[in-house]
Each structure stands twice: as C-alpha cells, then as structure tokens.
Amino acid sequence: MNKQDIQENIVLIVEDSQTLASTYREFLRPDGYAVSHVETGQDALNWLSENHPDAILLDLMLPDMNGLDVLREIKLREISTEVMIVTAHGSVDIAVEAIRAGASDFLEKPFNSGRLRTSLSNILQKHRLANEIEIYRREFTRDHYHGFVGGSLPMQAIYRIIESAAPSKAAIFITGETGTGKEVCAEAIHHESNRRAKPLVPINCAAIPKELMESEIFGHVKGAFTGAHNDRQGAAMHADGGTLFLDEICEMDLDLQSKLLRFIQTGTFQKVGSNKPEEVDIRIVCATNRDLQAEVQAGRFREDLYYRLHVIPIALPPLRERDEDILIIAKLFLERYSQEENKQFMGFTPEVEDILRAGRWPGNVRQLQNVIRNIVVLNKGELVTKDMLPSGLSSSGANERTGSSTVSAYSLSGDTIVSERPSVQPLWLVEKRAIESTIEACNGNVPKAAAILEVSASTLYRKIQRWNTEGVNDETE
C-alpha cells in the first residue's frame, strides 16, 4: 500500500480509555490516517450513521455494551468497513468468536506500534481489494443499461460492446428479432458516445414510402418534385454532429442504397433536386431483423454497402435466451402499468413466474410488454395468477419453447395476445381491424386510408410492417 492510499483511509478507534486511544493514535500517526475516536458502543454506532471508516479498532469491553454487539450491528447494517478487535490478555476465545462474527483480525493488548500498523495495513489492503471487486462486479454485472433492462450474461456482453464501440465513429449494425430492443440499442450507443449532445435521428425505412425515403434522408429543394413547396432539411442534416439511425435498412430501395453508399464513402450528399454537395459529420447506426447475409445473397442488399455498414455488428439476443431477465422485465412492466392503470398488482405467483420463464416469446420484450399490459388492464388484484394469463400462455404449448402453436380458441402469435373475454377485444385488435377495413375501403391506398383515419401514412406503414414481420394474425379465433 503506498502512502497516498494510506492517507485516504479513515480509522475509527472505539476505546473508552483515553490512554489507550491516544497511544493508538500516536502509533498510527506516521501513516497519515484520518483517525477519529469515540468512547462508547452507542457513540460508535451513532458516528457510523454519518461516517464511513475504512477500518475500526474496536475494544471488546466497552462501558455501555459489548464490542461484539457493536460488531454485529455493523454487520447488520452492512457497513463496508474492516473491524479489528482489540482484546485484553486472556480474552482470545472471545476474539475468535469476533472473527466468526465478521471481524477481520484481532490484537491482544498490550501491543506495539509495528504490530498495530502491520495488521491495520493488511486489513486495509483487504478492504481496498474488496472495494475494487465490488466496483468491478457493479460494472460488469449491471441489471440495466441505458434503456435496457436485464443482467443476464448475453446482455452483459451487449453492454460491453456498446460501451467499447460507442466512442468510435465506426458504423454499427444491429441485428435481432423484432422486439429485442434495436432502437434502444441505437439510443444507448448515441448516449454513450461523445455525440450525445447532438441529435440522434431515427428513420424507419419500412415506414416511409420508398419514393419519399431519399427526401427523408437527404432533404429536398423547393420544386424538386410535386408537393415540394419549400426547401426541406433531411435526417442527415438534422443528425449533423450526431447519429443517424436507419432502422429496417433492408427495406431500403436498391437505388437509394447506392446513394447511401456514396454518402458514407464521401461524407457528402445532395438534396433531392439540388446539385450542391452538402457535407455533414454523422455516425451511422443501422438495424434489421432480417438475415443480412441472405439479403445480400438474394441481391436485395448491396454487398459493398453491407461491408461499409457491417463494421461493428451487435446481435441482440432474443428474450428466450435471457432466462434470468424475463421476470425482471415482467416485474418492471407490471409496476409501470399498474401505476398507469391505477391497479394494485405487486407481483406474480410462483406458478405464473414459471410460465413466464418457460415462454418462447417470439415477439420478445415487446410481446412480454403486451402480455403484462393485457393482464393489468383486464384484471384486478395484488398478485398475477395463472387464470389472468392470456390463454396462449396459460395453456400448455402455445408459448412454450419446445412446443408448437396450439390450436385453441385463443392463441398467441408474435406479439399478439387475444383475450378470452368474448365481449372485450384488445385495443390493438380493434385498431388493426379498423386500419385494415379502411385500407380495403380505399382500395389499398394507404395514404388515403391514413388521411381518413387522421394518422400519418408512415404510422400505418409501420404498423403493417410490424404485423407482417411478427406474423400477427387475428384470424385464429
């Protein structure tokens, strides 16, 4: 231990004898500890309520209580400190008992300076190492990270990759099944990077009609196309200095892929309808739930763009591979939605916990989120019981990892949960049917349907895309 380490240490002497306390203080003076002294056990406990010593020299025979009781209280309060018992000659049995109770060492009176300083240095070294281990444990076993929740081993690896990759400008390609948190991952990368003060601009390539996509990304000038009444900045310009997140990039048109490639290679682009090159400093993060290599082989994704974007791949694990996270996430949603819906749910029965853990969760976190919301909205109580689960979960087969889809009155597919209650339909289903019937009434014209429904066309495209990719089906009743 070097001098600087020693000087940072705080030592509390609990000793009712002024003579012995001043002697110990003199013994320790050369090492530069910050030494405090109290005379009684109660004073020690009071002092510990407001101070955090690295080590305590604790006399066993205190005027108001036994030193062992002080030690037990220290352990009960989980105070992170090393306790050295100071005992009189002939009290070794008690000292052994103290070691069993959690003391780090003991000294038998009288002792000299060298003995005290060596023993104290040793236990402080142990304390320092214990603290370092705790710091590493906290750093490497986080149960949440930015918007992610979960402390499973696969997620620890993800957190580490994000942390390492975020400061770089290298492109990041996020893959993962739907609902695994690709956008959360992009947000984590952005906020962990030194671009966090600038915008993160997300573009969902599946939600925007391909004819508008180029303008969405690069912007346009007035008159560039019908309806371009004014100059408009695109996402690339908005993201200058920050991060551009291209979600569902496999949906991007091949022509636009080539423009994106040129933009990545040169750092410049042209607004639609303009010849003037614009230069921006952005970091690109992409995501897809498709097999990117298969897309390249099928000719739907440019190979050169693939290699430009696929610099740092992050493969988000599906929920079924995050066993220990399922309940943590479920409890978080239960708490959140109970609060939102003014319900009293506090947790799950052990049986429900087993069912949740055993689920295969094809829709991943989003599916789990929907299940919990469904339960909270449609039920009352403090504990979620098996009968509250959607039948796809509560009945065997439908959601179990080893089982296949079950044929029952109500099933679970993708993030689809269908209620057992015939008179009540989940909001998402009502919404889906309303959207589908409106699009049908508009002869498949999505923008027109969007106008009638008073939502943006991109909202409808996004929802349709999600239903398609997640295999959401309301025809299973």
Partner: protein, 130 residues
C-alpha cells in the same frame, strides 16, 4: 540498577514501571510523543485507581470487575507490570465470581498505584528536563 542509563529514558524506577517497555514506546512514537502519552496515562491511572479503591470500599462487584480490567490494560501498555499483575488478579477473580477473594486481593493495590503514579510523575519530570 543501570536500566535507566541503559534505556536512556533518564530515570530508574523499574520497580513500578518496566523501563524497557517505555523505551520501546519512545522508539515507536518519539520522546515528545511518549511524554504526552505519559501525561494522559498518569491522569487516567489516577482515576482508575480511585475507582478501584472506591469499588473495594463499597463492595461494588461490577465496578471492581470493570475498573480492574481497564487498569490492567493501561498499566500493561505502559509497563506498569506490578500494577498490571495485581489488577489482572482482581479482574480474574471477579470474572470467576469470587468476589470475596477479589476484595482481599485488592488490599494494597492503592499503595501499588501510588508508587506507580509517583514513578510516572518522576519520569515525566525527567523527560521534561532532557
């Protein structure tokens, strides 16, 4: 009787105080540090001896056990070995609940204490002169 010169603390009262112990303490904490510590020790020693005397007079078993324990500890730290031994004997008898024997063993501890205090006084004076 040449311990005083041998240990170079300037006095020769090894009957009540082991000069070798004090010499070691001086090496640990410096002469000035030892002088300050002896002052604290002297004050507490007087208080503890008075409390032991009081407990003996009042036949106060609890106080006798506790004060003899404290007296033993501080006496041992400063090499007041005869006093440490006497206090230890009283304390052990108290712990075994042999209080009558403890009270008997306490006879004379006041005299031993007085001798120790005088020795400490002279040591402090001697160190102040050095």
């Amino acid at each position: 009787m040449n311990n005083a010169r041998k240990h170079n603390i300037g006095y020769r009262h090894q009957v009540f105080v082991d000069l070798g112990t004090l010499d070691n303490l001086k090496r640990d904490v410096s002469a000035e540090g030892l002088r300050v510590m002896l002052g604290v020790f002297r004050q507490e020693l007087a208080e503890r001896i008075e409390k032991v005397d009081g407990a003996l007079s009042d036949s106060d078993e609890d106080t006798l056990e506790r004060q003899s324990h404290c007296l033993k500890s501080i006496a041992g730290q400063f090499g007041a070995l005869p006093l440490q031994k006497a206090a230890d004997k009283i304390n052990e008898l108290c712990k075994r609940k042999q209080y009558q024997q403890a009270f008997s063993a306490g006879t004379g501890i006041g005299e031993l204490g007085t001798g120790t205090l005088l020795t400490i006084d002279r040591l402090i004076e001697a160190m102040a002169r050095i």
